[in-house]
C-alpha cells in the first residue's frame, strides 16, 4: 500500500510500546481512527490507529507569522510558503508477530489494506458475527469500507451483555442505532437453527418512533439498501412485531399512535390495563422517583398489599383510593402507629394524582376479542421466541411510565427465573432483550436508592447476563447514569454529545481528539467500545429500515 511517511523518534518524544509519531505530507488527508502500518523488526508489521494530527512549521511564534505577512498585511502574498509538515500521533494496536518493542526511527509508515485493517482492529475471524455497522477509512482513491461485526456472545451474552448508547437528542440517533442492532440480531436469530433464541421488548417513549417498525421506510434509496446488503442484512423491516398501547376509552388520548385500530384488526396490537386484583403488589413502582428516606411509602405499599387495616377485601382501584383517604384523616392512625397520618397524606396525594390521571388502571378486562385488552404482565409471561413487543408509554405521565417499565422488567425477571408460570425452560426464549430510551429517568444518579425500578435495573445489569435478560439502554448523558448500571454494560456506543458532557470523568480515558470528535459526529456515526475490539471504533450505520415519522 501507499507509503505516507516515516517514523520520527526524538529525545523528547520517543516512540513507546503504546505510541508512535510519524511525519506525512501536509496535504495528505488522513483522519483520526484511520489505521496505519509500520514496518518493524523481524519483518513484522506494527499497526497503529491515528489519534492526533498536527501541522507544524518553523514559525517560532505567532509574531513571526504576523511579521511574515508583511507586518500584518492580510493581502500579502509570498513567493515561498513557510516550510511545514504534518505529524501524526498514532496508538499501537498490535503487531503481526506480537513484537511490542517501540517502532524505530525512520521506519516506513503506510496505509493499510482491508485485511490489515481487520487484523489491526481485531475484526478478523470473529466468532458468532453480528453486524454492528461499517467503517470507512482513508480518502479516495485509497478509501476502504469494511463491515464490522461484534461477537454476539459479547453483546447479548453469555460472555458479556448489555449495551449503553449515549448522545444528544436528535443528532445522535440513539434509537436508530439500537434498532439497527436489533435488526441485525433479529436477522441472525430468525434464521438461526441453534438452541439460542431471542425475544424483544421495546419501549416507545417518544411520539410514534417505534409504532410502525414492521412497516418499510419508503424514503430509503437503492444506496441505503445497498449498505444493508453489504452488511449481510435483509432489507425487510422488523418481523413479528406486536404493539401494546395503554388502554383508554378514546385511544388517542393515551397514545400518539394513529393506526391503533387497523393494527388491532390485523391482530398485532393490544391495549393494556392494570387490574387491581392482580397488580396491587406493583404499586410500589409508582413511587420509584419519590424520595423516601424513612421508607414510609414502602411500608404503606406493603401494608396495602398484605391487606392490613381496612385494605383486606378491596377489589378495585377506587375503593383503594377511598380506603387510603380514610387513613389520611386525623386520628385514624390509632391502630398503626408506625405510619403517620402525614405519610398517608403524602401517599394519597401522589397516588390519587396517578390514578385519576391515567386510564390504564381499570377494574376489569374486556373479554371480547375485538377489544384486544390484555394485562401486560400476562403477555410478557407468554412471550414466544422471536416475538417483538413494543410497549407504548410515550403519552403517559412520568410516574406511570416508570410504573409500566418497572412492571415489565419485573415480569421478565420473574419469567426468566421460572417463578411466574409453568412454562418449561426450552419454551421460554433464551434471551430477552429490553430496549429503553431515556434510561436516566430510571437509573440516573439522582434516583433515590430505594427506587424499586433502579433495584430491578441493577439486578438486570448485574445478573441479567446469566439469566438471559439483556438491557439495551439509551440516554442523553452517560455521566448521569448510575455507575453500576453503566459499568456492567459490555458495549458502549458514543454518539454525538456536547462539550460539557465530555469534560466529565466518564470520558477521562478517551483521547482528547476523539473527545472533540464526539462533539461533531454526524448522524449515523458512532464511536464503539466492545471488549473484542482493540481500540475504539468509529463506525457508521445505514438509515432505519422501518417507517419513520418526521413529526413524531
Amino acid at each position: 500500500m501507499k507509503q505516507i511517511g516515516k517514523i520520527i523518534a526524538t529525545e523528547k518524544v520517543p516512540t513507546t510500546v503504546d505510541d508512535f509519531f510519524f511525519w506525512t505530507d501536509k496535504e495528505l488527508i488522513i483522519k483520526p481512527f484511520d489505521v496505519v502500518k509500520v514496518n518493524h523488526i523481524k519483518n513484522s508489521i506494527t499497526f497503529g490507529v491515528v489519534q492526533e494530527i498536527s501541522h507544524l512549521t518553523d514559525n517560532s511564534s505567532f509574531l513571526a507569522g504576523f511579521i511574515s505577512s508583511d507586518f500584518g498585511d492580510v493581502n500579502y502574498q509570498q513567493y515561498t510558503q513557510r516550510i511545514g509538515m504534518n505529524y501524526v500521533h498514532a496508538k499501537v494496536v498490535g503487531n503481526s508477530q506480537n513484537i511490542y518493542t517501540p517502532v524505530l526511527d525512520g521506519s516506513y509508515v503506510s496505509l493499510a489494506d482491508e485485511d490489515d485493517i481487520k487484523e489491526a482492529l481485531g475484526l478478523k475471524d470473529i466468532k458468532n458475527p453480528l453486524t454492528c455497522g461499517f467503517i470507512e477509512m482513508y480518502e479516495q482513491p485509497n478509501s476502504v469500507t469494511i463491515p464490522v461485526h461484534f461477537n454476539s456472545h459479547f453483546l447479548i451474552g453469555p460472555e458479556g451483555a448489555h449495551l449503553n448508547i449515549s448522545g444528544i437528542s436528535g443528532l445522535a440517533s440513539k434509537t436508530s442505532y439500537a434498532m439497527f442492532l436489533l435488526k441485525a440480531i433479529q436477522d441472525k436469530y430468525l434464521e438461526s437453527k441453534s438452541d439460542e433464541s431471542v425475544a424483544y421488548v421495546l419501549f416507545n417513549v417518544k411520539g410514534r418512533d417505534l409504532l410502525a417498525i414492521d412497516e418499510p421506510n419508503i424514503e430509503l434509496t437503492d444506496e441505503d439498501f445497498g449498505i444493508y446488503k453489504m452488511l449481510g442484512l435483509t432489507t425487510s423491516p422488523f418481523q413479528n412485531a406486536k404493539y401494546f398501547y395503554p388502554y383508554s376509552k378514546d385511544i388517542f388520548s393515551s397514545t400518539y399512535g394513529r393506526d391503533v385500530k387497523s393494527q388491532m384488526e390485523l391482530g398485532k396490537a393490544c391495549l393494556y390495563k392494570y387490574i387491581f386484583e392482580d397488580d396491587k403488589e406493583s404499586i410500589d413502582l409508582l413511587f420509584s422517583n419519590v424520595d423516601d428516606p424513612n421508607q414510609t411509602m414502602e411500608s404503606i405499599v406493603n401494608y396495602i398489599a398484605t391487606g392490613q387495616g381496612g385494605f383486606n377485601g378491596i377489589t378495585n382501584w377506587s375503593e383503594l383510593l377511598k380506603e387510603v383517604y380514610e387513613h389520611t384523616k386525623a386520628g385514624s392512625s390509632g391502630k398503626d402507629k408506625e405510619i403517620t397520618v402525614l405519610s398517608w397524606r403524602k401517599f394519597y396525594r401522589l397516588f390519587r394524582k396517578t390514578i385519576e390521571k391515567t386510564t390504564i388502571f381499570s377494574n376489569s378486562l374486556s373479554s371480547k376479542a375485538k377489544d384486544c385488552e390484555v394485562r401486560l404482565k400476562d403477555s410478557i409471561l407468554n412471550i414466544q421466541k422471536n416475538d417483538l413487543y413494543v410497549v407504548d408509554v410515550a403519552k403517559l405521565d412520568e410516574e406511570t411510565q416508570g410504573f409500566v417499565f418497572g412492571d415489565v422488567i419485573r415480569s421478565i425477571y420473574e419469567l426468566k427465573l421460572g417463578q411466574a408460570n409453568d412454562r418449561s425452560e426450552s419454551e421460554i426464549p433464551s434471551k430477552i432483550i429490553i430496549f429503553i430510551d431515556e434510561l436516566n429517568k430510571y437509573a440516573s444518579k439522582e434516583v433515590p436508592k430505594s427506587s424499586p425500578i433502579l433495584r430491578q435495573l441493577l439486578d438486570i445489569t448485574e445478573r441479567g447476563r446469566s439469566l438471559g435478560i439483556i438491557l439495551f439502554a439509551a440516554e442523553q448523558f452517560k455521566s448521569d447514569i448510575h455507575d453500576r448500571v453503566k459499568g456492567n454494560c459490555s458495549t458502549h456506543a458514543y454518539g454525538r454529545t456536547n462539550a460539557i458532557e465530555i469534560s466529565k470523568p466518564d470520558y477521562q480515558y478517551v483521547p482528547p481528539v476523539y473527545k472533540s470528535m464526539l462533539t461533531r459526529l454526524k448522524q449515523g456515526e458512532y464511536i464503539l467500545q466492545n471488549p473484542i475490539f482493540r481500540s475504539l471504533l468509529n463506525i457508521k450505520f445505514p438509515k432505519p429500515i422501518y417507517k419513520q415519522f418526521k413529526n413524531g
Binding site: 513571526a64 511574515s68 508583511d70 500579502y76 510558503q81
Partner: protein, 394 residues
Amino acid sequence: MRKIREILEDASNGICYDSYKYCADDEIKVPTLKYEENQNFTILKDRYGETDTSLKQTKDLTKKAKQLSKTEPLFKFFLDGSRRTYKVDDIEINKRIFPIMAGQIGVACCERKSPSKFCCCELENNLVISLPTEANPEVKNTELFFNNIKDKINLIERVKKAGVKFSNVLSYSSKLNQDSADLKYEHLGIAAIQDEMVDCEKKIVSNLTNKNLLNEDNYLLKDGSLQYKPMKTGDYKELSKIKNNFRCVIGVSKLFNPEFSKDKSGKSNAAALAKLKLYHRTPAYMFQHDMEKWSYLGDYKYSVWYVRIRDSKYTESPFAGIVKIEKILITDNENEYGLESDLIDVITANIINERNPVCYGNDKRWANHLYPVYLTEKFLKSKYLSDIHFLNLF
C-alpha cells in the same frame, strides 16, 4: 583497530599528541567575515555599476516589487555552502607542531518548484582532513601522497562502520603570512577547508549550468558574496568558464561590514546606507579585484548594490534589514558600462519580494535573511554528522 592518527603518524613521520578534540567554529575566531570582505577587491572609482548613470540618490522599488509580486519569481534555485571545522589533534613534524584540522563541508542547492514545494536539487556533503604540507616527507607527488592517506583512512574499520567516507585530505601551507599577525596554523587549516567548500559551490553552479537549469527566468540566489578569492591554482581558462557559469547567479550577503561599502568615489558610504529607506536601493557600484596582485585573472568585475528589505523601525540596528547584492559582470558591455539598470531593478524587486516569510525567533539575523536561503541553510545543517559522532572517528 588502527586509528586515523596512526595512519597520519606513519605517513608523515610525525608524532600525534592525542590532544583535546573540539569543534573549531566556536573556539577559534574564524575568518569568515573577513574572508568575504577582505579587500582583495577594490572599487573602481568613477565607474558606475549600472547603465543608468543619472541615478545619484537611492531608488524606490516599492511599485516595481508590487507589480512583480504577481508574476513568477525570478529566483528558482538557492545555494548555500557551509562548513564545520574541528581541531582533532596536534602533530609534531620536524620539531614543529601543527594542528590537524578536519571538517564537514556541505553545499546544497534547493529548488523552489512552487510556493509550497521546496526540495533539494544538488547536495555535496564531504568530510575532509586538513594537514600541513610538511606532512608529506617528500617534495614531489603531494597530491598522490594525500590521496593515499585518504584511501588508507577510508579503509579503517571505525570509519567504515560509521558508514562515512572522507572525500579529500587537504594540505595547508605552513608559511605564516607576516601581514596578518593573528593568523595561526588553525586558521590556515580552516582556510583550506573553506577553499574546498568554495570549490564545491562552484562545482554545483557548474552542474546547474550544464543541465541548462539556469536562465533569464530562473536565477540562482547564492547565500553570501560572489567575491571568490582567486585560487592560487586557478588558471585563466578555468576562471572564464566559472565566470560564464555565473551569468544567472546573484550573491546576496546578509552580513557585510558597512565600513567597506563605498560610493563610487571610494568614500565610506556607511551613513548613507544607514539612512536607506524601505524598499530603496542604492546605485550599483563597480568592483574589481586587486589588479596588481591577481592580474592573471583578467577582467573580473562586479556590480554591487544594497537594498533595504525591512523597515528600520522594526530592526535592531540601522543595517539590519539591508542586504548586499552582487552580480558578476560577464559581457564586455557590462564590463564597460555596468549592468542594465532595468535588470538591477528586477533583481532587486525580486529580492524585496523574497522578504517573507521571516525566520524571526529562529535566527537573530532574521531581518537580513531570505527565507529560501534560510531553508537551504537548515537543510544543509540537518545533513551534518553530530559533532560528537564526527570527533569520535578520530
